[in-house]
Amino acid sequence: MVQVKGLTKSFTTKKISKKVLDAITFEAFDSQVFGLLGPNGAGKTTTLRTIATLLKPDVGTVSVDGYDVVSHGTEVRNRIGFLTGDMKLSGHLSCREMMQFFGALNHMEPKVLNKRIAELANQLGMEDFLDKQIAKLSAGMSQKTAIAVSILHDPHVIIFDEPTSNLDILAVKVVADFIKDSKEAGKCVILSTHVLSEAERLCDRIGIIHKGKLLCSGEKDLLLTDYKAANLEDLFFNLVSLQEVRNDA
């Protein structure tokens, strides 16, 4: 389970400070997919990077399975798998070697590691290209490899930042299937996307973020009924116009 409470974050570039996240609060539970939705520049990546210990909150707290991301970074990293759409594994090592490298870094026993590699290769359908150089793989294949590397240590919380952004439809299906499997296996999955139809299919709970503010969060179906929206797109535009009316007032 992931808890984000009052998360506020500013970036300073050229002495100008810009508030990128403003008191974001939400929870994501086990055996569910939480979707963080919003247009480009809304603050999705910044939120997920804070959960993944790559950034530190200015104000507020973030915890993963009860561990605070600032004070217990190592425990948090132990429990999360983090993957972004633009994170590319490349180079001359094969998929297997890359997985062995990350496994060694996670201090996995060679025996356990090799078993896990075989298991993941089977689950993700990687057997055919396991010993091919990563540089020579198709987009879908290298995305599978990236997924495999990020969940090698069997993390309990899986954080995917726009995992389908650079992918063709075949590769998108790989990711979607994987997310469903993880949810069924009891994992807590957090996913960000600006493709609302994708979220519609995959998510149990959602949070809509716009210009650094969380406009709503909760059960997807409840939110749709509450705001009398036909789909997520509707919901998003309703919320944005509400917000703007509020700002004008």
Binding site: F82, M87, E97, F101, L105
Partner: protein, 386 residues
């Protein structure tokens, strides 16, 4: 911590071994480049030289018919004489009423923009000197003297410098440290920027940073890798230089002193050279990795690393002609210390104290570098850019 650093180091080396193109450009190319350039230059120069010697020049000689002059030109140059009205390569103009043995001023007229004609003029000028000497010898013998009678003093030099430090050794002491340091820095640049800024560009640094491995281990693993690559590439580049200088028609940069005497490479001196080289390599790797980590892209990293490279080149040039110094403070300054350690070793006056100061100082700076890189990996500054 070291364990994790070694895992990262081994993975980088493994990836490098499989990367044939990078292997070629970092190790094989530097080994071959110098010899190829030297052979190329040597053969081009050789063929220009050959052509200059084989040409038959058109020479216009006015104002003398002295057989002795023509004979001395004959000995040095293939030529045919032409009259003043015809076109000629070189004109040799003796003054009107020239009498062999009387003082006279001879004019050589030629176009120096042609290498070949310049060669011909040079040969004629030598011929004139020989001719002059022949006549002078005759004049001396009229007085019962010879050239030997004109020399009353001879000088014998006794060089007190150790054998290694004499001419060849000191050339070596000047050039070798300079080249090694430059090659070392150049060799660490591409790999140092690739494992930092390059990984940021590819988005694969984030994959490392969200793992449980400590950031100090990441920093150390990367620096260790850069150090290994740069040391190996400096050594192969240097070998290339040595090979090219021992080539028969290569230009000999060390003026005949290129042969490193066996005695010079004793166990002790080799040890000192290695301590200096490795500690500098470690420091350089830490420096380049630090600069690379500050940048968002390889392009940006270049703008940080290039100025440092120029500083190192400058330090090398400035210290090249300096004598080894008793000033201990020098051995605390990175790069300068190694250059002086090398100088001392090549001049047969290596000092264990100086080597140790340099070694410990470089190690300390490298440790600071490792610390800074790991702080950087922990700080938001780098994390915002991965």
């Amino acid at each position: 911590m070291m364990h994790d650093a070694l895992i990262i180091f081994r993975k980088e080396i493994r990836a490098l071994v499989k990367d044939k193109r990078t292997l070629f450009s970092t190790f094989i190319l530097p080994l071959l480049m110098m010899p190829i350039i030297f052979i190329g230059m040597g053969s081009v120069l050789g063929s220009i030289q050959k052509e200059a010697v084989e040409t038959i020049y058109r020479i216009n000689i006015e104002g003398t018919t002295d057989r002795r002059f023509f004979e001395s030109v004959d000995a040095l140059l293939d030529y045919q004489t032409v009259s003043a009205s015809e076109s000629s390569d070189v004109q040799v103009l003796f003054p009107d009423g020239f009498v062999p043995g009387n003082p006279a001023s001879i004019r050589l007229v030629y176009d120096s923009s042609s290498q070949k004609i310049q060669y011909a003029a040079q040969q004629i000028s030598t011929a004139l000197q020989l001719y002059d000497r022949q006549i002078a010898a005759l004049k001396l013998s009229d007085h019962g003297l010879s050239f030997d009678d004109l020399t009353t003093l001879t000088v014998t030099r006794v060089d007190l410098a150790p054998e290694e430090a004499q001419s060849g050794g000191s050339m070596l002491a000047m050039m070798v440290p300079y080249f090694l340091i430059i090659f070392l820095f150049a060799g660490s640049m591409s790999s140092g920027m690739d494992v930092t800024a390059g990984e940021k560009e590819r988005g694969s640094l984030a994959a490392l940073l969200v793992n449980q491995v400590s950031r100090t281990s990441i920093a150390m693993g990367k620096i260790l890798h850069v150090m290994t690559v740069s040391t190996l590439s400096a050594i192969t580049t240097f070998l290339g230089l040595l090979i090219s200088m021992s080539l028969p028609n290569g230009t000999n940069l060390f003026g005949g002193g290129g042969k490193i005497s066996i005695q010079l490479l004793s166990f002790n001196t080799l040890g000192m050279i290695l301590l200096g080289l490795l500690s500098t390599a470690l420091f350089t790797a830490a420096l380049v990795t630090l600069l690379g980590s500050l940048a968002k892209s390889v392009k940006e990293a270049n703008t940080y690393v290039m100025p440092m490279y120029l500083v190192v080149v400058l330090v090398g040039v400035m210290t090249m002609y300096m004598d080894p110094s008793k000033n201990v403070a020098l051995f605390f300054v990175p790069y300068v210390n190694t250059i002086f350690v090398f100088k001392e070793v090549f001049m047969g006056m290596g000092s264990i104290l100086h080597v140790l100061i340099a070694f410990v100082a470089n190690l300390a700076y490298a440790a600071i570098g490792v610390r800074l890189v790991s702080l950087l990996f922990n700080s938001e500054k780098i994390l915002q850019t991965v």
